[in-house]
Symmetry: none
Subunit: 224 residues, 4 copies
DNA sequence: AATGAATGAGTTTTCATTCAT
DNA sequence: TATGAATGAAAACTCATTCAT
């Protein structure tokens, strides 16, 4: 009687006209492609293909390649920020809290290699897209505050040094995991081992937690 | 008194037909360009221009863009390996040796941002060029052995823990500096500071040395 | 009576967005260019210009230069096969049938110098594109069967020898015309005549028909 | 104590400075390369490499690529002309003479595929180099005269028709072999056989001789 | 005579982006 | 919203030829 879709419709089901799904598919494809090839090495064509949609939709939904890159960054930043919010370190004793924090930082990178890849590229571009994104700017990481609180709490408990700068501690925690993942291939090649194996990854995880907690131990003889 | 060529001219100035100089100029330009733009983002044209030579000489001397990238990697690896050889840690007490080592690792990255940039790119390519380069494979880093010896010596002296794996310690030392430099721009943007300033760099340097030495302190109550 | 576009205009004239026409134009231009210059000597630029379209459309529609060459081969093979189908030799007495066949083979080459040129090039490449083209492989020439039938019929009629191999006869028929056209310029230069003139072409045509029919005459004294 | 060459010289013997040998090597390499790739597809570099000499020597000895192509043509024309001179057909009865002539034409092409390849290319260029070469122009083929004499002799002997034009007979003889070799690959692909095998080549040889002699038989009932 | 370096003008191909439907 | 065609600008790489030694 009318021509509403799906009457007795034999055309490919391809779920036409679901712009939100298209957007999501493109964004996922973009993150994967940018992580693989970098901004310069990625191809708009390839992203569209990965998403199973027409190339022009990239422009329709995101404007251009660079804007798509920014959207990809917003996405991966959004994910880590959301998980950081869920850590609830205040519920734990200082040492356990710090262990959870370091473990989380390590695990998130382990599970999200695309974050490492995108950040490398973004830094090559001098954080241009981050600076251009009010959305990312607004996503303040709670980690600095969490670290500060945990360090203070730990110092009060007598289990941590009290002279550590939270930002530097944050950078150290992140760096201990980041470098391992970011340079996994060259390190594996140079050391002629496979640092990508589950065994080496979990070894590294233990080392990092141990290393951080060890570094934060109070200085013997210091009067806290 | 005029500037006609070859008066009694000792400058290198436009020496015609000096293939070795041409090669060097190209290699330097390539390192700079690859560091700035990455392998995919770099332009052979641009590299030739930076080097002040004809574009086709890239192909004449290096084969193609990818081979040039490999040569650039060989160069930067060669430089750090050469400096590593010169550390002579065995001459120092364990703590001082470790401090020199950590300081060197930090300083070399500070002075050679191109190393960070090239390694990021190389890892994106799964260390393909490193694996293809017998030259790099042959440049064994002496650092692992140095770290092992220093850790052992420090344990004997009672100033270091004795349960630390040298490779993981190496990765930690490198990572603490690497992440700071590799992600300097995004970190600066996120924390709304300028981590590139001399002040912040030297703060970071002190933190890293302190952090490592602190982490390596012997475990209280352990019988070394 | 003016030339404003689309009055009641049935001409193809610059019809925008007619991909089929674009393809046809490119294919025609490619055949001409490949015939003139060969695969190696042809320029994609030139082909696009001849077709009056943007150069990149070659890649859009055909993939690359080599695929375009294969498409050109498919086109010229398709044309000759189509004409071969229309010969209907069975309707004629053996001698007349053979005469029509030889005449057709000669005339087709006379009218399609691009076929000679493309085949020369294709043979230089060891028939690589023909082997790669399922389409060409599927276009079985009916000529062998036609020749076989005609020879058999002629033998029965007592006008042809009965000991001739059809494939070799085919190659002979084709060769007698082919060499004349393929080497027309060098032959003209060597013999200091103009074998390209209508007079010489028609002389050759008569000779070829005469030669073939003469060769096929029954062997005197043989018992057919 | 001086540095004159070959004192007690252990350097590679490479027979330096034999310009005539260099020239020959280059010419042979050029014929091979031009036969393989055609004029447009051939690379001066590749020719020099095949010859084992420096690329610049091509220019030194031959001027440029095109002149080298002309020299290659002169060489292959020279070879066939020399062999043609040695046929001595007059010593044989007409039929045997014709058989030797046809056999020779076939065999020379079989043994010299580069002749076919070069002629194809030369015809694509409208015999430009042949016309430019006084040397080739001067190498008059004795074949036309030989054919004429043989035909006349055969007619007198009553074994040949007397109405055949020598040039057309020449073209037919050459064409029957030429097409088989020139199009061997496409014919093999189309007929799904291997016409390059010794068996098929010798079958073809017999066919060609048979075909020509059969065509030349006197017309029955004609009064010679 | 011989060599390797150097060059200018191409040549194929790629790619982000826009157009027409 | 979605599609395939079309485009301009560029990119990697090639190549005949010349230069300096």
């Amino acid at each position: 009687m009318n021509d509403s879709p799906r009457m007795n419709d034999k055309r490919p089901a391809r779920q036409k006209r679901d712009p939100e799904a298209t957007r999501r598919a493109l964004l996922g494809a973009a993150i994967a492609e940018f992580a693989d090839k970098g901004l310069a090495g990625s191809r708009v064509d390839e992203i569209a293909q990965r998403a199973g949609v027409n190339k022009q939709l990239v422009y329709h939904h995101f404007g251009n390649k660079e804007d798509l890159f920014r959207a990809a960054l917003e996405q991966v930043y959004g994910e880590i920020r959301a998980r950081e919010q869920a850590l609830h370190l205040a519920d734990l004793p200082a040492v356990a809290a710090m262990e959870r924090l370091v473990g989380f930082s390590f695990d998130h990178l382990a599970e999200h290699p695309e974050l490492v890849a995108l950040l490398n590229d973004e830094n090559r571009h001098e954080a241009r897209h981050v600076k251009d994104s009010p959305q990312i700017q607004a996503m303040h990481s709670p980690l600095i505050v969490m670290i500060e609180e945990t360090l203070t709490r730990g110092a009060r408990e007598g289990v941590f040094r009290d002279d550590m700068d939270a930002i530097n501690v944050y950078i150290s925690i992140a760096g201990l995991a980041y470098f391992f993942f970011a340079n996994n291939h060259t390190l594996s090649a140079i050391f002629d081992t496979n640092l990508d194996s589950a065994r080496e990854v979990s070894r590294r995880r233990r080392h990092v937690i141990d290393f951080v907690l060890s570094a934060l131990r109070p200085v013997a003889g210091a009067t806290a």
